[in-house]
Subunit: 230 residues, 2 copies
DNA sequence: GACGACAAAATCGTATACTGATTTTTGCCA
DNA sequence: TGGCAAAAATCAGTATACGATTTTGTCGTC
């Protein structure tokens, strides 16, 4: 999203942020400043500063042993979606109003890629296309504060690894909602976009909550087994 | 808002953040890590980290010569208020629903202090009371993500020095709006709070825009004089 | 084989030192 | 007095070093 940053800290920050957006770091991984510094061939400080920034922005949490991707509680998910529900329908509506032909074309490309990856079950490709779709309409949001806030709130969800799309019923509902949004964008109909996005938000919240709930239950079972073994 | 942080960086960050909230730093001031470090009797790094964090959060901007409070353009103000309009009415409504008696009492105290400081023209006291009032109802917002986001968006406006209240008409309108909000809070009426807060947002945006516009015009005149002298 | 004490390793937080870029000041000359 | 260039000061960025704390691993004992 940003240009080629001039200093090391920004470079590392951008790289890490991108990895997080792509879910390339799992919550069990540990990010350590010395390791990152070594991989870039630089000193600890810029790496450390980048990590601290990600912590302050809520993407990572500091542990006694390295930094880790922050995991969302069910309350976090509900809370984050309460904010998203307030912002995204409005922002998408303004994007529908101000959308230029080139952004429209890019949006359709991303949408087609979503359809295609979904049909062949290419989950990583689907996630990437999904991020593209979102970033594309966000480019039509003229208010940078709005766009940045939304971007941030969405990125929090990258830590919830979605096997969501594995369930065909969920995938179908997702695609249906997205199609309606896409169509409304093409029709330059802010009201329709607003309404569709609102519906989409509720469906997404439900999906994330159920995925995360299952994850947490599984983690608890594993935890109790571990404890028993001990 | 936070407890006594264990490390120096957090301490300095909190202190600086508080200074910013209180408008104790003007945009013409320069914040330099070595100075801050010296005043605390520590090394540069924690001070520097605190400053970098404030930059990443948008409160400060880095210059070639120290860090400075970020000044808002008119577009910034409109954009920030677009976000605030989406969030604050909703958050305040939820606060009205969930408000506890102790928070209610604190809110009334803050409100009374606003009335009093306003009547005697005590502007610094008024600003402080105003911050109190806001922070108090925010305490009743159970969604921490919502509360933090709102808090942040409001704090951006501390760089716009308000001689706003100097104009009696503006002050009267402000107090009227705030009274209505306060009354609606006491009545535990989420809908009324939502509506009143929405009105208040529009009035506030208008006020900030006009104040800032005047500031920018004045700055331009001074700038052109400086240039001529040169 | 389980448990506890102790040693070793890992990692964060902080301090200090160096460097290069940019701004400010100084001093010289017209 | 004004302009200009060199010198000095300032400050951000980066590197390296040290101490404190926590985790991990090992060894010996019960």
């Amino acid at each position: 999203m940003e240009g080629p940053s001039q200093n090391l800290m920004e470079t590392i920050y951008s790289d890490l942020r991108l990895s997080l957006q792509r879910s390339e770091v799992s919550p069990s991984d540990r990010l350590v400043d010395t390791e990152i510094a070594a991989s870039y061939g630089i000193s600890r400080m810029p790496a450390r500063e980048a990590l601290l920034r990600l912590v302050s922005e809520g993407y990572l949490v500091g542990t006694t042993r390295g930094f880790a991707v922050r995991e969302l509680s069910l309350e976090d998910i509900s809370g984050l979606f309460e904010v998203r529900r307030q912002l995204e329908p409005r922002a998408a509506a303004s994007a529908a109003r101000d959308m230029t032909p080139d952004i429209e074309a890019a949006l359709t490309m991303a949408f087609d890629r979503i359809e295609q990856t979904l049909s062949v079950g290419n989950i990583p490709g689907l996630l990437a296309a999904n991020v593209d779709f979102r970033n594309t309409w966000l480019r039509a949001v003229t208010n940078p504060h709005m766009a940045a806030t939304i971007s941030r709130f969405i990125d929090y969800f990258q830590s919830v690894r979605v096997g969501t799309f594995a369930a065909p019923a969920v995938a179908a509902r997702y695609f249906e909602g997205l199609s309606a949004i896409h169509k409304a964008f093409l029709a330059h109909d802010p009201l329709a976009v607003h309404d569709r996005m609102t519906l989409f938000m509720f469906a997404a919240e439900e999906a994330y909550l159920s995925v995360r709930k299952r994850q947490l239950e599984k983690a608890e079972v594993i935890g109790s087994i571990r404890k028993r073994r001990k």
